[in-house]
Amino acid sequence: MTSVAIIDYGMGNLHSIAKALEHVSGKQRIVVSSDREQILSAERVVFPGVGAIRDCMSELQKTGLDEVVIRAAADRPVLGVCLGMQALLDSSEENTGTDCLGLFSGKVLHFSKDMHEAGSGDRLKIPHMGWNQVLPTYQHPMWKDIPANSRFYFVHSYYTAPDNAEDVAATTPYGIEFTSVIARDNIFAVQFHPEKSQHAGLQLLSNFVGWNGES
């Protein structure tokens, strides 16, 4: 029985996330798959992604895997990562406007090019790249054994702006306080890369493979 399926829709390299999940999953089977049956037979689904949102959406539509994401999100634990988080919203302003999956109400926005560091006044670089703090807004089983305000590894130029405050599970300061994690019922989606975030990231993935989807 496959425990975790990582959706492979041709966007970037899934080696890292598969390796990190294997590292924490014990005997549970991890598969990287583009096969809808195989994905939908998994107990848990990871929806990753890097690159540009328009390519991401067009690959999802071409492969029919957009429906698979929506079906998985209806009834089992789903972890969205990076672009896999952004694609869950209504739309993104990347590539002069791209419609997304609409599982969460809200938009994906570009960081302002005119943001400055509070103390030094230095201009903040884009992409937001490196280790930043993740500040949970409420208790959630996915945060088990992760100290509050732990640092995770980010690399992105766009961020999600959900319409509903209750969808925000964590924020991160970078010029503004942006939403770095969204969650609702059995869906948990992160802007950072848990597979590249050492102890805290591996703990999060370990929590995911043990999560029953209740929050």
Binding site: H15, S16, V50, K125, M129, G130, V155, K196
Partner: protein, 257 residues
């Protein structure tokens, strides 16, 4: 509170062995990149950079295996540079588990390659490595140019303009090495670092010349670098990455401890 400045140990790998690491004292196989990577990870390195200095192409597969092994047990970002000349080289390294690739000479000879690479794989994984040397004389307005072949061949390209162009072409990050300082242990070229960092939107990694921990802090405070890279001070076990972070924190720099 906010984004941490990164410390990035760099491993020069030749035919599968770390070449500057021969004086490592407390690990058995002194030059094994996997063991060294593991150690830096444990010490709290924020990322690792592997520079493949292998000259012959038939040895390049060795680097792929090194990256595969490291990526299977070290869960922080990995960058691989050296010998990245075409799209196939990038794909091979990313498939092996690298998160980013460093493009240096190939960008100088064919700038369009950076555009292609960023369009294909995303800017987040394209690091353009720039080797710069000061060409202005004392008393003149400071100017730096791009050099290739380990600092031996001038190209006549202005370093600041080049960095801006690479930024526009889709580089997600700039790895900036001062060829004047590389290997000297006199510290980064802070004027160069600052000039480039202020001229581009993307993060800049300072490299070349680190001889002590204060140099790393200076690179961030005076050089305005977003990350600092060093090889020999860590390889020769003079300092740990943890000590480097502590020094940066003592200087008021945000780090991941």
């Amino acid at each position: 509170m906010g984004l941490a400045k990164r410390i990035i140990p760099c491993l020069d790998v030749d035919a599968g062995r770390v070449v500057k690491g021969v004086q490592f004292v407390d690990i058995r196989d002194a030059g094994d990149p996997v063991e060294i990577a593991r150690r830096y990870d444990k010490e709290g390195a924020d990322e690792l950079t592997f520079l493949d200095i292998t000259a012959s192409s038939d040895q390049r597969d060795t680097m792929v295996h090194v990256v595969e092994k490291v990526a299977g047990e070290v869960f922080i970002p990995l960058t691989v540079g050296g010998g990245i000349r075409e799209v196939a080289d990038i794909r091979r390294m990313l498939n092996a588990g690298a998160d980013k690739v460093g493009i240096n000479t190939a960008a100088v000879f064919n700038p369009e390659f950076v555009k292609q690479a960023a369009a294909r794989f995303g800017s987040q994984c394209i690091v353009v490595a720039i080797d710069a040397k000061q060409v202005s004389k004392a008393g003149e307005l400071q100017r730096w140019e791009i050099f290739t072949h380990g600092g031996r061949k001038p190209t006549g390209i202005d370093a600041i303009e080049w960095a801006q162009r690479m930024n526009q072409y889709g580089a997600g990050e700039i790895l900036l090495t001062s060829m004047d300082r590389d290997g000297t242990r006199d510290g980064f070229d802070l004027a160069l670092t600052r000039a480039v960092s202020e001229a581009v939107d993307v993060p800049v990694i300072a490299s070349g010349g680190v001889g002590n921990l204060q140099h790393l802090a200076d690179g961030v405070i005076e050089g305005k670098a977003d990350a600092v890279l060093a090889a020999s001070i860590f390889h020769f076990a003079e300092y740990t990455v943890g000590q480097a972070k502590q020094r940066m924190a003592d200087c008021g720099i945000e780090v991941r401890l």
